[in-house]
C-alpha cells in the first residue's frame, strides 16, 4: 500500500508542478470573456477581431467557441465560471433568448454584459453588436427574386430557427418572397411535382414549408444532400444557406450531384468556400455580417466599459453587405446604405484584417 501511496503523491506533485507555468501566466489585466453559439469559421474571424481589440486595449481575452453547437446548457456554465472569476465583461452570442433571459438577467446585474450576433433584449445587456437580421434576410429574399425573376422552388437551410437571428433572417426572406409582412405562406403541393409538399410564398414554392434546421454544422451537408435529391429535375431552383456553414455544405453537395448548373445558391456570411464559390460563379452572392468587427467591437466596448468609458458601446446595428462576383454601386434600403463589394476586394480586405492581428 505505502509504495502505491508514495507513487501517487509523487506523481500528483509532478502534475501540480507541471501546471504551474499555466498558473504563472495569470496577470492583473482586465479579463474579458467572449462565448459563441457554436464552433465555426465565422467565429474564428470574430476571434481574430477580438484578439486585435484585446491587444490594443491591453486586456486579457478568453474567447470560447462553444464545443456543443447551439447548446445553451453548455454555454451557461462557461459564462457562470467567468462571473465567478470576476471578469471585467462578457459578450455572448445568445442561443435561446427566451429561455436564457432569466440567467442572463442575473448575470447582467453582476457583470457588464453585451450580446453580439444574436440578441436577448430583455436581459438588461448594455448593447447588441450585430446586424439587423430581419433586414439582412430581406436582402437575401431580394437576391432570390433577382435570381429567379419568374418565381420557382426555394429551400432554406439554417442552423437554428429558435435563435433570434435565425427567426429574423428566415422571416425576412419569406416576407420578401411573399411581398408582405409576417408571411406564413399557403400550404401547397409543388406545381409540377405533387409529391413535394411545402408552402407557397408569392411566386415561390418553399420546400417543406419551412426553413430546414440542421442544429449543427455536422448535419448541414446530409440535409442539403437530401433536399437536392428531392428537387432534382425541377426548373428554377434556388437554395439558400442562412448560417455561415450552410452555403459551403450546399455547394459541396450540389457539386457532388452535378447539379451546380441546375440550382442557384445564395449564401450568408463569409466562409472562405462561399467567397471562392462566388468568385468561380458557383454561388450568386452572399449577405455578410462582419464577424471580425463583432469580435473587435465586443472587446473594445467591454474593455472601455471596464475602465469607466461608455462611449464605445454600440448604438446602431452594423450594416450588412452583399458580396457578388463583380460588385456594384451602394444602395439605400430603409434608410441604411448597403454596400455591394466585389468578392476579390472583400476577400483581400478580410485577409488583411486577419493578418493585422499579432500572433
Amino acid at each position: 500500500m505505502f509504495p502505491a501511496l508514495r507513487l501517487s503523491v509523487v506523481l500528483g506533485l509532478a502534475l501540480v508542478l507541471a501546471s504551474l507555468p499555466a498558473c504563472s501566466k495569470k496577470s492583473e489585466k482586465i479579463k474579458i470573456g467572449v462565448v459563441t453559439n457554436c464552433t465555426a469559421e465565422f467565429w474564428s474571424l470574430a476571434e481574430a477581431g477580438a484578439n486585435k481589440a484585446a491587444q490594443e486595449a491591453d486586456v486579457e481575452l478568453q474567447f470560447r467557441q462553444l464545443e456543443k453547437d447551439f447548446d445553451a446548457s453548455a454555454q451557461m456554465p462557461i459564462i457562470d465560471s467567468w462571473v465567478k472569476q470576476g471578469v471585467g465583461g462578457i459578450a455572448v452570442s445568445v442561443i435561446d433568448p427566451k429561455n436564457q433571459t432569466e440567467d442572463l438577467t442575473r448575470i447582467a446585474k453582476k457583470v457588464p454584459l453585451i450580446t453580439m450576433d444574436n440578441d436577448a433584449d430583455q436581459t438588461g445587456r448594455l448593447c447588441y453588436i450585430g446586424i439587423d437580421n430581419y433586414e439582412a434576410g430581406k436582402a437575401v429574399g431580394r437576391l432570390v427574386k433577382k435570381s429567379l425573376p419568374k418565381g420557382g422552388t426555394v429551400a432554406i437551410f439554417i442552423g437554428s430557427t429558435k435563435s433570434a437571428n435565425g427567426k429574423a433572417r428566415t422571416q425576412g426572406v419569406l416576407d420578401e418572397l411573399a411581398g408582405q409582412k409576417d408571411a406564413t405562406g399557403t400550404a401547397a403541393a409543388h406545381p409540377t411535382n405533387a409529391d413535394l409538399k411545402g408552402k407557397q410564398f408569392g411566386q415561390f414554392f418553399l420546400v417543406d414549408g419551412e426553413a430546414k434546421e440542421d442544429g449543427s454544422p455536422n448535419n448541414a451537408q446530409p440535409l442539403a444532400a437530401a433536399v437536392l435529391a428531392r428537387v432534382k429535375g425541377l426548373p428554377d431552383v434556388c437554395l439558400v444557406g442562412l448560417y455561415a456553414y450552410n452555403p459551403p455544405a450546399i455547394l459541396e453537395e450540389a457539386r457532388s450531384k452535378s447539379m451546380l448548373k441546375d440550382v442557384k445558391i445564395i449564401g450568408f456570411d463569409e466562409a472562405w468556400v462561399t467567397l471562392k464559390g462566388i468568385a468561380d460563379g458557383e454561388i450568386v452572392a452572399t449577405v455578410v455580417q462582419d464577424p471580425f468587427m463583432y469580435g473587435y467591437k465586443s472587446v473594445e466596448a467591454l474593455a472601455a466599459k471596464a475602465k469607466g468609458d461608455d462611449s464605445k458601446l454600440v448604438k446602431e446595428p452594423i450594416p450588412y453587405r452583399v458580396v457578388t462576383k463583380d460588385g456594384g454601386p451602394d444602395e439605400t434600403v430603409n434608410g441604411m446604405v448597403v454596400k455591394f463589394p466585389k468578392v476579390a476586394d472583400f476577400e483581400a480586405k478580410l485577409r488583411a484584417d486577419l493578418a493585422s492581428v499579432k500572433k
Binding site: M1, P3, A4, L5, L7, S8, V9, L11, G12, L15, V16, S19, L20, A22, C23, K26, K31, T39, E60, Q62, F63, R64, Q65, E67, K68, D69, F70, D71, A72, S73, A74, M76, P77, I78, D80, S81, W82, K84, Q85, G86, I95, D96, K98, N99, Q100, T101, E102, D103, T105, R106, S160, T161, K162, E213, G215, S216, N219
Partner: protein, 325 residues
C-alpha cells in the same frame, strides 16, 4: 482501497491545480457549481457502473437523458403537472431499461448492439417529441406551473426560486443519497454478491442458483431510470434543452467515470465510493480549463491528455499494488 487510490490521487491533483489556478476558483460558489455538475454526471455513472459490474454496457444513456429531458418539457407543455411529470419520466426510463434488459436476456442479443440501437432510437424520439424546450417556454404556456417548477428546481438543483442563483449543490446531495443506496445493495446485500458473481462468471453464477436474467434486467431498469432522472435534472438546471444535443455523448462520460472509479470493463469489479469519485473527475477538469482560460482549440486535448495520464497513474498504482501484495 487500492482500486480508488488512483482516482483519489487524480482528484487531489485536479482540485489543487484548480484552486491554485485562480484566486476565485477555490471559492465556495465555484466549488458548489462543480459539485452540482459532479452530481449530475455521478447519477448516470452509478447506472453505467452497475451495468458494467454485471458484465454489460449501456450506450443509450445519453440519448435517454436527452429524450427524458425533452419528454419532461413536452409533458408539462401538454398540461401535466410538474410534480406528476417527474415520476412519469422516471417510469419512461424504467420502461426503456426493461426493454433493453429483456432484449439482452431473452433474445440473447449483445448489450452493445441493443443499447447502440437504443441510442439512435431515443435520440430520434427526442427529435420527434420536440425541438428546443425550456422552463421559460413551459411557464409561458402554463403560468400556473411557475411555482412548482421553481420548487423542483430549488429542491433538485439547489437554485434560488427567485433569480435562479445556485445556492447549494442539491444534485451532489442527491448523488450521495443514491450512491448510499447503491452501496448498500452492492456491498451489504445478497444482490450485490449476485451482481459481482454475474460479472465475474455468468455461468458460475447460474450454477450457484442466481437468476442471472432477472438480475441483469433489474440493473438495466435502474440504469435507464437514473438516466431519465438525470434528464429531469438537466431540464431543471439548463436554460433550455435541445433534442439534438441534450445528453449527447454522456454515456461516454458515465462509462469514463465508472472506469476511472475502479470498474473493470470485463465486469465483476467496482465500488459505490469509486463510482462517485470517478464521476467527480470530469467536472473539476472542465472548471479547470474554464478558469485557466485555455483556448477553445486546446481544451479537448487538455481534457483527453489529463484523463489519459490519470488512467496511466491508476494502472501503475494497481500494478505496483499487485507486486507488493
Amino acid at each position: 482501497m487500492t482500486r480508488i487510490l488512483g482516482v483519489l490521487g487524480l482528484l487531489v491533483v485536479l482540485y489543487t491545480t484548480l484552486i491554485t489556478s485562480h484566486p476565485k476558483a477555490g471559492e465556495p460558489d465555484n466549488l458548489i457549481s462543480v459539485a452540482n455538475l459532479q452530481g449530475r454526471f455521478g447519477i448516470i455513472t452509478l447506472g453505467a457502473a452497475l451495468v458494467i459490474i454485471v458484465g454489460g454496457i449501456d450506450l443509450s444513456i445519453g440519448a435517454v437523458v436527452g429524450c427524458s429531458a425533452v419528454l419532461f418539457g413536452v409533458l408539462m407543455n401538454k398540461g401535466v403537472h410538474p410534480f406528476a411529470a417527474v415520476p412519469i419520466v422516471i417510469l419512461f426510463g424504467a420502461t426503456v431499461g426493461l426493454t433493453n434488459g429483456s432484449l439482452i436476456t431473452r433474445l440473447k442479443l449483445q448489450p452493445f448492439l441493443v443499447t447502440l440501437c437504443g441510442m439512435f432510437v431515443f435520440r430520434g424520439f427526442a427529435r420527434l417529441l420536440g425541438g428546443t424546450l425550456g422552463q421559460a417556454s413551459v411557464i409561458e404556456g402554463h403560468p400556473e406551473y411557475k411555482d412548482p417548477i421553481r420548487t423542483l428546481r430549488h429542491l433538485l438543483i439547489g437554485k434560488d426560486p427567485i433569480d435562479g442563483e445556485l445556492i447549494f449543490p442539491a444534485q451532489f446531495i442527491l448523488l450521495i443519497v443514491l450512491a448510499g443506496l447503491v452501496g448498500f445493495f452492492l456491498h451489504r446485500t445478497a444482490y450485490g454478491r449476485y451482481w459481482y458473481a454475474i460479472g465475474h462468471s455468468e455461468l458460475a453464477a447460474k450454477y450457484a442458483g442466481v437468476n442471472v436474467s432477472r438480475q441483469r434486467v433489474v440493473i438495466y431498469v435502474v440504469c435507464s431510470a437514473l438516466a431519465a432522472l438525470t434528464g429531469v435534472l438537466l431540464f431543471l438546471d439548463a436554460p433550455s434543452v435541445q433534442s439534438d444535443n441534450a445528453g449527447f455523448s454522456w454515456e461516454l462520460y458515465a462509462i469514463l467515470g465508472a472506469v476511472l472509479g475502479g470498474c473493470s470493463l470485463r465486469g465483476g469489479e467496482g465500488t459505490a465510493v469509486g463510482m462517485v469519485l470517478g464521476a467527480m473527475v470530469l467536472p473539476v477538469l472542465e472548471s479547470l480549463v474554464n478558469f485557466r482560460g485555455d483556448a477553445s482549440d486546446v481544451i479537448p486535448v487538455v481534457i483527453g491528455l489529463t484523463l489519459l495520464i490519470g488512467a496511466i497513474v491508476d494502472e501503475l498504482i494497481r500494478q505496483r499494488s499487485r507486486i507488493h501484495r
